[in-house]
């Protein structure tokens, strides 16, 4: 049982209460998407789930142990988190950036231990970045950067991967590619949680959906059981048409 369980979670940013009464469960091997209108609290939910924001009420446990008890470094080895529009401030090489994902496993001083080099090589190969490994990460394209960041997140082979907006700013081809890679991670046994703006894309790849509105969970569950026209209408306050085809559910917002 290594589920991530949020029980009665409330989160305050500054003086503003952003989330209240959040109950949710995420399981290994599943891709969960967090959807909802702008400002609903999706990013805050992900940060709380990643253990980066301490809740003012409620508990968050991973495998039954509260995140605060697991400890900063131990948690960092088990969970990877990618913020929105992740980038890098210095022109570090792609390989260096990917290696940064191993920070929690590194000694305090010195370079990358040779035992960890294969992990970096594998992550680069998996993300089709081997040819770009020496290129400064500030000089790659948007789609390539997204792959670099994902490779950075998964290089340590985390059991929990939390990603805020993996498709933001990507063209359809790269957005599809990004979600395919997340899907593959989940299929390999990882627990993947992603906030996704593109509902259509989200519903095509996800197992579970968490719909967040005004700081609370409106509805949540496996796609097949919770997503319908009425649910999406209530979530976004617009009319919706749902069609089902070979690729799965497809959403069109009308009016």
């Amino acid at each position: 049982m290594s589920d991530l369980v949020l029980t009665g979670v409330a989160v305050v940013r500054g003086r503003r209460t952003v989330l209240t009464g959040i109950d949710a469960t995420f399981a290994s091997g599943r891709l969960a998407v967090v959807i909802g209108p702008n400002g609903a609290g999706k990013s805050t939910l992900l940060e709380a789930a990643a253990g980066l924001l301490a809740p003012v009420a409620g508990t968050i446990t991973l495998g039954g142990v509260p995140l605060a008890v697991i400890g900063r470094r131990a948690l960092a080895r088990r969970r990877a988190y990618l913020p929105q529009r992740a980038g890098v401030d210095w022109p570090l090489s792609v390989e260096r950036v990917v290696a940064l994902g191993l920070t929690p496993s590194l000694p305090s001083f010195g370079g990358l231990p040779s035992a960890l080099q294969p992990a970096v090589d594998r992550a680069l190969a998996d993300a089709d970045l081997t040819a770009l490994r020496d290129r400064p990460a500030t000089e790659v394209s948007g789609g390539e950067l997204a792959r670099v960041m994902l490779a950075r997140a998964v290089v340590g082979d985390p059991e929990l991967l939390i990603i805020d907006e993996p498709t933001a700013g990507l063209d359809p081809r790269h957005a599809l590619d990004a979600l395919r890679r997340l899907r593959a991670r989940a299929d390999a046994g990882c627990m993947v949680i992603a906030a996704v703006h593109d509902v259509d894309l989200a519903l095509r790849f996800a197992d579970d959906v968490v719909a967040v509105k005004e700081g609370g969970i409106l509805w949540a569950g496996p796609i097949g059981t919770v997503v319908d026209v009425d649910a999406l209408c209530r979530l976004y306050d617009v009319d919706v048409r749902l069609t089902r085809d070979d690729d799965g559910l497809s959403v069109r917002f009308t009016s």
Partner: protein, 328 residues
């Protein structure tokens, strides 16, 4: 690559230090210096080498080293290539402390009053910046530092305006220009431990600075305690740069330029910049101090800080233009 760079910079520093033992009011030959360093008798040469030049040159290396190191750490912490100790108000705080010592006559009462007051000022400025920026991010820290810096410099100029005597005015002005002239082993003993302690704290931040290249949130997710890193960086800078400013006066620019010089050579990795930046800073200040000694002609000597800025600013401008062209 990095190891080769560190070794060659260290060798360069040793050459610079050895070279500057020769020059000054009296030019000494290598044989004389070797004799002075090995002999047990006290001769003119041994007095000049052991008691006048050596402490001064070592101090130059320590001061330059900590300025370069602090600059590299702050640039990494704030992810801003323009960061340097002056930006966070630490140099200004140290200056104010020293000026208070001079103004209220404590400096005249005992020679080490100025350094001690300066160190206190630097620590106070760092503490104020941390408290003001509490809860805020990097930008809050930069803004708090800028505010403290302006306030401290305003107080320095107020002191200049109200200086009780021409003597105090003269003292404050010379001090603001920065100098290592006639610093003794006393000053090495006073500033050395603080500079080394500050450097140790700063070096602890290396790994975290690498992770911070990804942003504060991402760094935190990698297990970095960002608040602790900030505390280490500011406190280490206040200790080290405070002590350096205390004995050498305000020496700007080294903290800004030293990291820039070495960054491209280490693949821009923030932790790899630290030691080379410290060595580069040390070389810069040792050579600048040598230049101020040699260039002292019939006129008054050039202030160390003034000299570094005079030579450094055009060079830095060239560097900026070159970088701008390359990234176009």
């Amino acid at each position: 690559m990095s190891r080769a760079l560190v070794s060659s910079l260290a060798a360069g520093l040793v050459v610079a230090i050895a070279g500057s033992l020769f020059a000054g009011v009296v030019w000494l030959s290598p044989a004389t210096i070797a004799g002075a360093l090995s002999s047990t008798h006290t001769t003119l040469a041994s007095l000049i080498v052991v008691d006048v030049r050596l402490p001064r040159i070592l101090l130059a290396a320590l001061v330059g080293g900590i300025l370069g190191l602090a600059g590299a750490v702050l640039q990494g912490l704030l992810r801003n290539p323009l960061a340097e100790p002056g930006l966070l108000g630490i140099t200004a705080g140290a200056s104010l402390g020293a000026v208070v010592a001079i103004y209220y006559g404590a400096a005249a009462a005992f020679a080490l009053a100025t350094p001690l007051f300066a160190l206190t000022g630097a620590l106070a400025a760092a503490a104020a910046a941390l408290v003001l920026a509490r809860g805020g991010g990097t930008l809050a820290l930069i803004l708090a530092g800028a505010a403290i810096s302006s306030l401290a410099y305003a107080a320095v100029y107020l002191a200049l305006d109200l200086a009780p005597s021409p003597y105090a005015t003269y003292e404050i002005l010379t001090w603001l220009m920065g100098s290592l002239a006639d610093r003794s082993w006393h000053h090495v003993a006073l500033a050395g431990p603080f500079i080394l302690a500050g450097a140790a704290l700063l070096l602890l931040t290396g790994r975290s600075l690498d992770a911070l290249a990804l942003g504060e949130r991402a760094a935190a997710s990698l297990g970095i305690d960002v608040a602790r890193v900030r505390l280490l960086a500011l406190f280490g800078t206040a200790l080290g740069v405070g002590a350096a400013t205390a004995v050498a006066g305000s020496v700007g620019f080294v903290g800004l330029i030293a990291p820039h010089l070495v960054r491209p050579l280490v693949g821009h990795r923030p932790s790899a910049v630290l030691v080379p930046a410290a060595l580069t800073g040390a070389i810069i200040v040792v050579l600048a101090d040598l230049a101020t000694r040699v260039l002292r002609g019939s006129a008054q000597g050039i202030g160390l800080g003034v000299f570094i800025s005079l030579v450094g600013a055009p060079f830095f401008l060239w560097l900026v233009l070159r970088t701008a062209r390359r990234t176009e």
